[in-house]
């Protein structure tokens, strides 16, 4: 194998693509180097579920043949990536991060895997996740078949969940991008904690065929990468209608932020308290600086509030009902007891007892939430809040106990925006925006359905004015 320069591991998609086009190195060598690095360093962060070194080399070789024939399929051609281990990959284990499914093998690929294959991207490995994407709730970061997700910025901290492996692998330069999934915070949280750019697409924009079903009406698949620009290119490749996904919106996505409205015309809804008293003290300087950087783009910041709903209980009720149906056999067979986290086991068992009236009340309230958000987006173009109130939690911290609490009487700000955004099916872009206690913190920009180009345009402009998305963990 020819030597690959070590700076490739933190290149963006467009940088790597340019180097492949310039024939600086072969795609096969690049895929092999990334796959070896993932296999070697992935376990250091408990980020690796399954190495796919041989498959990656084969794909790289095919890409080299394409390049030789001057055939360019997409900007992702020859780019190494990883996929959360809830996406089916033909003939190889797909564990869903859980012991009862450790030997599960599908005979087909998830639609997103096929789409990336057609685009020429090279899958170098399956990436770790919280068991069953944490639907039943979980107390500790250790709730995963591969152990607790360790943060590349500080291995005594959690990488976030449930897309723990995808976020850690991108942050550590083990893959150029990764696919994660979100039902309620599973892209936003790990992207924020690991300092990578993450995109939760509009519900239905990306096919979930071949992905573990946790909650049919909430699940989304989205990219985690080095920049908003990269997220746009990946979304273009994976979005689109799919008859195999009953929730598919039947809509394509073409990455064209240049056609989005000028930033000077945009009203950004936010609550100042989210960047002050509702944020951890160590993170406030970073959040304030990020607000200033965003203002410099020309957008108008407008104080706003979320429509008043109990978002958490509504989302939890819908999730509990749908996961109970999805995992009924696991629960009734007793195999649920093989899971690691006692809270997860109990949550799944209890969910079987959820009354139908509660589920129906929750999905009727969800209709009202969607209507209220439609109205809100006539007043502001996007919503802005911290990705999380502070940096990654310590590994030993109980996740089902209240962490940071603002002073009593603090206004709610946009509290519940993760649950609200997921209930309304809204897209969100996570942008690294600084360090707190030497750990990354991030912004989230949330838009109306199918406004990904608007979010990506804001993200691209923010990332031309800041370099937080380019920062690397100290040991890397």
């Amino acid at each position: 194998m020819a030597a690959i320069p070590s700076d490739v591991y933190f290149n963006t998609i467009s940088e790597l693509s340019a180097r492949l086009k310039a024939k600086e190195f072969k795609a096969e060598d690049l895929a092999h180097a990334f796959a070896e690095r993932l296999a070697q360093l992935g376990p250091r962060y408990n980020a690796l579920a399954l190495p796919l070194t041989q498959e990656a080399r084969r794909k790289g070789k095919a890409v080299d043949q394409d390049i030789k024939n001057d055939r360019w399929r997409s900007p992702l051609q020859g780019i190494p990536y990883g996929a959360k281990d809830l996406l089916a990959y033909k003939g190889q284990p797909t564990t869903w991060g859980a012991k009862p499914y450790a030997g599960q093998v599908f005979d087909f690929n998830a639609t997103v895997i096929d789409k990336l294959d057609a685009a020429g991207a090279a899958l170098t490995g399956k990436l770790a996740m919280v068991e069953l994407a944490g639907g039943g709730g979980y107390r500790f970061a250790s709730a995963s078949l591969t152990g607790p997700g360790l943060n590349p910025w500080d291995r005594t901290r959690w990488s976030g969940g449930s897309s723990s492996g995808p976020a850690a692998a991108v942050a550590a330069g083990l893959v150029t991008f990764a696919l994660g999934s979100e039902t309620s915070g599973s892209i936003v949280t790990p992207a924020s904690y690991c300092g990578v750019t993450g995109l939760r697409p509009t519900y239905g924009l990306v096919s979930r065929h071949g992905a573990m079903a946790l909650s049919w009406t909430l699940d989304k698949i989205g990219p985690m990468a080095r920049s908003a620009e990269d997220c746009g290119r990946i979304l273009q490749a994976i979005a689109g209608g799919d008859g195999k996904d009953p929730g598919s919106a039947g809509t394509s996505f073409y990455y064209a932020p240049q056609y989005a409205r000028p930033l000077k015309e945009l009203k950004v809804g936010y609550a100042p308290v989210d960047f002050a008293d509702r944020a951890e003290e160590s993170a406030r300087p970073a959040f304030q600086a990020a607000l200033s950087a965003l203002k410099e783009t020309g957008v108008t910041l407008v104080e706003t509030k979320l429509p008043p709903f109990p978002y958490g209980p509504i989302l939890s009720t819908i999730l509990a009902a749908e996961q109970a149906s999805n995992f009924e056999q696991l629960i009734n067979s007793g195999k649920v007891d093989q899971l690691i986290d006692a809270v997860q086991i109990a949550g799944l068992k209890a969910s079987l007892e959820l009354p139908a009236r509660d589920y129906l009340k929750a999905v009727r309230l969800r209709r009202l939430i969607q209507e209220e958000f439609r109205k809100l987006f006539t007043q502001v173009d996007v919503l802005l809040a911290p990705g999380r109130p502070g940096p990654a939690s310590k590994l030993e911290q109980a996740l089902d106990r209240a962490g940071f609490q603002p002073p009593a009487g603090t206004p709610p700000g946009l509290q519940g925006i993760i649950q609200a955004g997921n209930l309304a099916g809204l897209p969100a872009l996570v942008l690294p925006c600084g360090l707190a206690d030497s750990l990354p913190v991030a912004l989230q920009v949330v838009g109306a359905p199918f406004t990904e180009n608007l979010l990506l345009g804001i993200g691209r402009e923010f990332q031309t004015r800041t370099d937080w998305h380019k920062r690397r963990p100290p040991e890397l």
């Binding site: 009720t317 109990a346 068992k349 209709r367 009202l368």
Partner: protein
């Protein structure tokens, strides 16, 4: 089947090692299950306080 004492000791120690190597299921203790039920009940009580107009249909889609 007769076993010598040595064979019996080997069989027992092998079984013990196999048992030690098998991760024991971490079944949720009863109080965790009660706590989970309590969370669902608390959610249910909160939902019950929410008024929903009679004409509001559930937000899920069915295509015939």
């Amino acid at each position: 089947m007769k076993l010598t004492r040595r064979q019996l000791a080997a069989a027992i120690s092998g079984a013990a090692i196999a048992q030690a190597q098998t991760p024991q299921p971490s079944a949720a203790p009863p109080d965790e299950l009660e706590a989970a039920r309590g969370r669902l009940k608390a959610n249910s009580d909160l939902l019950a306080q929410q008024d929903v107009p009679a004409a509001t249909e559930p937000a899920f889609r069915f295509q015939a």
